[in-house]
Every structure is written in structure tokens, then in C-alpha cells.
């Protein structure tokens, strides 16, 4: 049988068997509603508070009441940005974000621009690091919120969040951090790093999909966007998804315990992968920051060829990864992140994103590094853009 290598963990991760085990009783054995006053309800209430505590511990939150469960990273980002904007209109109508945010931040900001809010998009440098001077210049007395991602899931670049937070707080604004790609992979401390609100997703930590969390520092004024029975202290109504909440709690606990060893292991594989590809394939380049990057992220671009044909070719070899190409997206536009770091459209089209995970090993990296040179070569032979000297 052909070897199968899954390196698309930014798109989806398998759920850790220990997490499935922890969740299982909460489907048909302990099915009480946490809002109920009887013992079934009490048990459910206890386990969701336990999960809250595990997330608080992972991110250094001072109080477990600062953790609110949502349906995932997208909802957390919507709630943080819209919720703060609507609730703090009396203080100002200006929001600052960056050009490389996830679509759930981008499109939420875009929708606020159709209302009475103004949004400023801060550029990034060629490595994807936020331009601090532009940030300082963008902040005004009307700025109520700044939203910057902790790390970019596509190019892997980690932002200087602590420094950004100091600047934002000096101007009296709040800092929201989308930590979906980073949480569980790199150590984060919301208190030390000046973070007021932070979005987390469960599946990115090997937990189930459809569950996430928002950290909101005590005293942060947020207007709920989902109304109902007043669960999650009124900020997010809807009967608690107890099994999934147990899942994200367990995911946070495992991430906290294993982050250091797994992070070091993945960084080693990542660097071997990047070096192997850049050494063996001419006219190939690393996208994102060379050192300030997520342990699992290898994003490499290959001149003169297009990403979707690379993905199809790799798939024939049993290898799964993603591309920055328009041809793999629903919008037919190449990745806005790759364009924001200054790549030309045709360069963005030829980028491949490999995101490593727990089950990947050295043999997987070797397999990909050995497979890709011939694939790139074949597509370059077909491409009219390839310079003759590269083919000889």
C-alpha cells in the first residue's frame, strides 16, 4: 500500500483518543443540563467549570470566570470584535487590525465598516510581522479595539504581542488576539502579554470541532451577539455543549503538559523539512519568518508553477497539504496573507503549506522531501514560465 502522509493540520486535526475518552460519558450517561438544579445539573455544571479552569491555566488567565465557551474560533472572533465595538460605541468608533488576519476577523471588521465604524488595516513586513510604527500612528483617541493574531496559521509568523499590547494600552484601547493557530502550540500568558480578549479553538488543540473559547479580562465591556437563556453569564446563550466543553478542557490540559516536548519535536521536523526542500529544489523560498514561526508550519513557494497542480500531484503520492493558490479557494483570489507579505500573484499561486502534527515523524518528512523535487520538475517542464537554464 502507498504511504499516506497527512501534513494539513492547519485545515483539520484528528481528535486525540484521550480526549474522545474523556468526552464519551457526557453523551448518554451524564447528560444533565448545567442550568438544572438537580444532581444531574450539578454534575454537568461541575465539569464545565473544571474545563474552564484548564483553559484558564493554559493561557495564564487569573480567574476562571474570564473564559467563555463558544462554537469555535470564528464565533470567538465575531463575539470579541462585534461585542466590544457595539458595547463601547460611546468611547469611539475606530478599530485597528492587520492585513493578515483570518477571514473571521477580516469579514467581521468589513461588516462593521458598513455600520458607523472605521477600520484601519496595519501592514506587515516581508516576514509577516506587524509594522509597529504604523500601529502607533493608526491609534487615535477614538480607537476602542485593536485585533492582532498571535500567530498566522498560513505563514506561521508569531507576532510581538506583548509589545503590541503595551502600545495599545498606552492609548487606552483594548487588545483582542486571535490565538486559534497558536494556543496549545506556543506558551501564551494573557496577563504578561497585555491581552484583553483572546480567541481559542478546540480542534487546533486536537479537541473536537464546533467548540472554542473566548478569554475576556474581568471588566471588559462586551455586548452578546447570540441572545437566549443567558448561559455563559449572559455573554453567550445556548445550552452548554457539555461533552465538547469537556473535550476542549482535556485538549487544553494535554496541550499544557506536552507543549514543550511536542513543540521541540515539531520544530525539529519543520526545520528538517524546510531545509530539505530548499536545498533540493532550485528557485524555492520560505514564506514567513525564519525563526519566529509556529513549530508545525512549513510554507514554501516554488517559482514558475501553480499550487493546485502541486497538490494534485502530491495527492497521487498520498501526501496532503494546502496551497496559497486561488485555484484551491472558493474566491479565485490567491491568499490575502501571501499578498500582504509582498508576494506577486504568481508567487502566491506557487506556494505550498505543510502543517505538521502529532502523528508525523522523520520518515514522513523524508518521504515528502524525496517526492517533491520530481513533482516540481515535471510541472516546470510543462510551464511556459520556466527559464530554459533551470531545466537543463
Amino acid at each position: 500500500m502507498m504511504r499516506r502522509v497527512y501534513m494539513d493540520h492547519a485545515a483539520g486535526k484528528p481528535v486525540d483518543h484521550r480526549i474522545i475518552e474523556a468526552m464519551t460519558p457526557y453523551f448518554s450517561q451524564q447528560y444533565g443540563n448545567p442550568s438544572s438544579l438537580h444532581s444531574w445539573g450539578n454534575e454537568a455544571r461541575k465539569v464545565i467549570e473544571d474545563a474552564r479552569a484548564k483553559i484558564a491555566a493554559l493561557i495564564g488567565a487569573r480567574r476562571i470566570e474570564e473564559i467563555f465557551f463558544t462554537s469555535g474560533g470564528t464565533e470567538s472572533n465575531n463575539l470579541a470584535i462585534k461585542g466590544v465595538a457595539y458595547r463601547n460605541k460611546d468611547r469611539g468608533n475606530h478599530i485597528v487590525t492587520t492585513t493578515i488576519e483570518h477571514m473571521s476577523v477580516m469579514n467581521t471588521c468589513k461588516s462593521l465598516m458598513k455600520e458607523e465604524f472605521n477600520v484601519t488595516y496595519i501592514p506587515v513586513d516581508k516576514y509577516g510581522v506587524v509594522d509597529i510604527q504604523s500601529l502607533e500612528k493608526a491609534l487615535t483617541e477614538k480607537t476602542i479595539l485593536v485585533s492582532v493574531m498571535y500567530a498566522n496559521g498560513e505563514i506561521g509568523t508569531i507576532q510581538p504581542i506583548k509589545e503590541i499590547g503595551e502600545i495599545v494600552h498606552r492609548k487606552g484601547a483594548l487588545l483582542h488576539v486571535d490565538a486559534v493557530a497558536a494556543a496549545g502550540q506556543v506558551p501564551i500568558n494573557v496577563d504578561n502579554e497585555n491581552i484583553d480578549l483572546m480567541s481559542i479553538s478546540s480542534n487546533d488543540m486536537y479537541g473536537p470541532r464546533g467548540i472554542g473559547a473566548l478569554y475576556a479580562k474581568t471588566g471588559t465591556r462586551i455586548q452578546p451577539i447570540i441572545l437566549g437563556g443567558g448561559q455563559e453569564r449572559g455573554l453567550r446563550s445556548g445550552t452548554e455543549n457539555v461533552a465538547s466543553i469537556v473535550g476542549i478542557g482535556k485538549a487544553a490540559e494535554i496541550a499544557e503538559a506536552e507543549m514543550k516536548t511536542e513543540g521541540e519535536r515539531l520544530s525539529g521536523l519543520r526545520d528538517k523539512m524546510i531545509k530539505g526542500l530548499l536545498d533540493r529544489i532550485p528557485s524555492s523560498f520560505l514564506n514567513g519568518h525564519p525563526t519566529q514561526r509556529l513549530p508545525n508550519n512549513a510554507n514554501v513557494r516554488f517559482s514558475y508553477i501553480e499550487g493546485e497542480s502541486l497538490i494534485l500531484s502530491l495527492d497521487m503520492m498520498g501526501i496532503a497539504c494546502s496551497s496559497g493558490s486561488a485555484c484551491t479557494s472558493k474566491t479565485l483570489e490567491p491568499s490575502h496573507v501571501l499578498l500582504a507579505i509582498g508576494l506577486k500573484h504568481e508567487e502566491a499561486h506557487g506556494s505550498l503549506l505543510f502543517t505538521l502534527g502529532k502523528q508525523n515523524n522523520e520518515a514522513d518528512v523524508d518521504y515528502v522531501v524525496n517526492a517533491l523535487p520530481d513533482i516540481v520538475k515535471r510541472l516546470r517542464v510543462i510551464s511556459p514560465l520556466t527559464p530554459k537554464e533551470l531545466l537543463s
Binding site: 485555484c327 504568481e346 499561486h349
Partner: protein
């Protein structure tokens, strides 16, 4: 998302390459959009004696390039001009809707190559 026919042409493209002394060359698309295609033709007695292609692009772009060379080879210029984008897609068992416009450029490339040939022929007179 692609038909087996598309994948087969992607894996084993027909008539890939250049014709150094081509009678007509047509280039369509734009690397900015992610698809660029060059079609080379050799014409003898008003027929496409040879046709080759080079393509930068997605699986659909490469498969449609390969398919157009099969459809056009040996045809008269008039017949070749009548081959449409729809004919190419149909011969491949269909293309995903999103690819019908962006990557289905091969018929345009063929027509551009024939027009180039006719223009050069006109200029020689």
C-alpha cells in the same frame, strides 16, 4: 472534484512541449490569475499537422490544454476554429463550475494560435 478523464490528462498530458519553428503561436491567460497557456501549431495544406502546448496553471488548465491538442490535431483550420470551450469541457467529462471560466482557456489559446498563423500568412503576401 475532477473527473477521472481530467486526472488522466493531468497525469499524462498529450502533445506537451514547444514547436520551435511553429507557424502560429497563441498565448492566453495571465500568471496573475494563475493560468497561462501557450499553444504552438504547425499547418500544412490548411490542416493542423502538429500542435503542442505549455501551461502554467491548475489541474484543469493542464488537462484542457492536453485535451485541445487531441481535439484539434489533423483538423482543418475552419474545423479547429469551431472547437469551443464547452467542447473541451465535455470531452473531459465536465469541469467543476468554478473552473469553467478561469482555467478553461485552451480553445481560446488554439484560436489565438490560428489567428497568429493567418496574420503571418497575410503579412507574407
Amino acid at each position: 472534484m475532477y473527473t477521472e478523464k481530467v486526472m488522466e490528462h493531468f497525469r499524462n498530458p498529450r502533445n506537451m512541449g514547444e514547436i520551435p519553428d511553429a507557424d502560429g503561436v497563441g498565448t492566453v491567460g495571465n500568471p496573475v490569475c494563475g493560468d497561462l497557456m501557450t499553444i504552438y501549431i504547425k499547418v500544412r495544406a490548411n490542416r493542423l499537422e502538429d500542435i503542442k502546448f505549455k501551461t502554467f496553471g491548475c489541474g484543469a488548465a493542464i488537462a484542457t490544454s492536453s485535451m485541445i491538442t487531441e481535439l484539434a490535431k489533423g483538423k482543418t483550420l475552419e474545423e479547429a476554429m469551431k472547437i469551443t470551450r464547452g467542447d473541451v469541457a465535455d470531452s473531459l467529462g465536465g469541469l467543476p463550475p468554478i473552473k469553467m471560466h478561469c482555467s478553461n482557456l485552451a480553445a481560446d489559446g488554439l484560436h489565438a494560435a490560428i489567428q497568429d498563423y493567418l496574420k503571418k500568412k497575410e503579412a507574407k503576401k
